[in-house]
């Protein structure tokens, strides 16, 4: 794959191709083995994650990661869940272009998205994240690194996030050379440091974990906040999205609907449980149980989401 793609992209330098070529690429990608980068839009590549928990077998490659090519520079979005995952992504960049990686964008602090940053430590890229990202990385680090070692064993060695060098408080535009990315920092939603990337040229919205598809969402920031942010994201001029978990690309805003339904069920169900005097210990087995069945790994995460929702909503 590497050689073929490399040649094609060198000719194109990122953005020259039309829709037909992009569709052809997508069709070709459908037959590609796991672990290969998928070009979901011209010059926008996604390395799809698997719908599992991090393990030695999957090397923590459970989130979607990828990169965007401009005329002069490359932006990597989420370096992945381990050093090995980051290295795989870096190899995919090298196979696609000779342009330098100038930006390493972290959509939030979760380990499946940031632990591969170590693979990019020597490329001199600006490390960009939400203004609250440094705090979240500092708070999580002492928990996440040992947890990664527990999940991945020896393969966790060398993994780790990089300290952000550039923070986004609201909006930041990056110029990759003929291609502008708009980074948007959001109020608490999935986490309290969610950042999205909009590639205007291909109308592609890179959501980070503000969008989950198929894999059950994980609530950590604010349930009410997530619903509000999702509404704003729906209004963006994008025709497709790269979710944090799920297929490498999905139609936008249609793909937000299952997530919206789940979050609403969680909110309304938790409020009803509070009104009915159902305790926080019983709520996980009583709230949004039917809605949770539609999602992978629900058995591992739904109860936690209910607990987080309860904790948030009982004082609203």
């Amino acid at each position: 794959m590497a050689e073929r793609r490399s040649g094609r992209l060198t000719r194109r330098q990122g953005l020259g191709l039309g829709l037909a070529a992009s569709l052809a690429t997508r069709l070709a990608d459908a037959a590609r083995p796991a672990g290969a980068a998928v070009e979901v839009a011209p010059g926008l590549f996604v390395l799809p994650g698997v719908a599992e928990d991090a393990s030695a077998a999957n090397l923590g490659a459970i989130a979607n990661t990828g990169f965007i090519l401009g005329r002069d520079a490359v932006a990597v979005v989420d370096p992945g869940g381990s050093l090995a995952h980051g290295q795989r992504l870096r190899a995919a960049v090298a196979a696609a272009t000779r342009q330098p990686i100038r930006y390493l964008i972290l959509t939030h602090a979760h380990p499946d998205h940031v632990m591969g940053a170590a693979a990019f430590a020597d490329c001199g890229a600006a490390v960009i994240g939400h203004a609250r990202l440094p705090l979240a990385l500092a708070q999580r680090g002492p928990y996440d690194l040992p947890m990664l070692a527990r999940s991945l064993g020896a393969a966790a060695a060398g993994s780790g996030a990089l300290a952000p060098t550039q923070l986004v408080t609201e909006r930041l535009a990056l110029d990759l050379g003929g291609r502008e990315l708009v980074l948007q920092a959001h109020p608490p939603a999935h986490t309290d440091q969610d950042l999205t990337v909009l590639d205007a040229a291909t109308r592609t919205l890179w959501t980070g974990d503000l969008l989950f598809v198929e894999r059950i969402p994980a609530l950590e920031g604010s349930l009410a906040g997530w619903l509000a942010v999702l509404e704003r994201l729906r209004a963006l001029p994008a025709g497709q999205a790269v979710p944090g978990h799920g297929p490498p690309s999905v139609p936008w805003p249609e793909a937000a609907e299952p997530l919206g339904r789940y979050l609403l069920a969680l909110r309304d169900g938790t409020r009803a449980a509070l009104r009915a005097g159902i305790g926080i210990a019983e709520a996980p087995d009583r709230v949004a149980v039917v809605e949770a069945r539609h999602w992978r790994l629900a058995e591992a995460y739904h109860g936690r989401n209910v607990t987080a929702a309860y904790r948030e909503l009982e004082w609203e």
Binding site: P142, Y143, S222, G279, I280, A281, G303, W315
Partner: protein
Amino acid sequence: MPRAIARRPILSGLLPGAAALVAGRAGAQGIEPAEAPRRAERWRDLKQAILGDRPTEPAGPALDLSAPARAQDAALVPVAIALSAAAAPAARALYLVVDENPLPLAAVFRAGQPGALRALTARIRVDAYTYLHAVAEMADGRLLETARFVKAAGGCSAPIAGDLEAARQRMGRMRMSLPEGPPAPGRAVPVQVAVSHPNTSGLQIDQLTRLSIPAEYIRALRVTYAGAEVLRIESEIAIAENPTFGFTLAGAPGGELQVVAADNRDRRFEGRWTLGAAG
């Protein structure tokens, strides 16, 4: 802190290694057989420190302690302690202990009204995979103990959820719920009360200043109904943020339920509700 506890390496649970809380799940180990002698010895030490030389006996069916085997959130682990109908009227006090926490004694509940301790609930922080112990002190002086193993870790030093400033502004607000309605003669009912309070443990770190966030926590609650004491709770840093407790209330409807809470800074918080057709 009692000496018997202090000489153990009690802070080891704060170190990385069991990060269930943030990552959302714990590793695969259960009650490690190799750990059993150490855990047993720790509980012997804790009993000595908390209860002195008084012997305890297995509670059997008189006392039930329940908690999720694997916690959803180590900083907020719901615990329920139930006394049997036969034992409840004679229970004077109930001790809740989280063996592996830096400060293991989480709360002491003292009955003002017979039966108030029949069904207790609390939310605790769990710092490492641990046994929970409940000990009921009976009117005849007997101490009945029971235990439950819980897999959760990192709860004491876990980052504070949400905004500490917002929590401070809300501090002292109280909630009360009566899932089965007000009490009536012959019909005692469950009551839950909650005090909005950050209940910081002193073990959390402000990541910007790298300094410990000072411990500010509710240390005592007193509940009265129609002027008579129902129960008192002595509460420690193992109690989760926004301390929330459940107990059993007997009496006639229409009385006023009053909760007075005090924290370690001697701030006093109060809530009053009239329980009845109008309440």
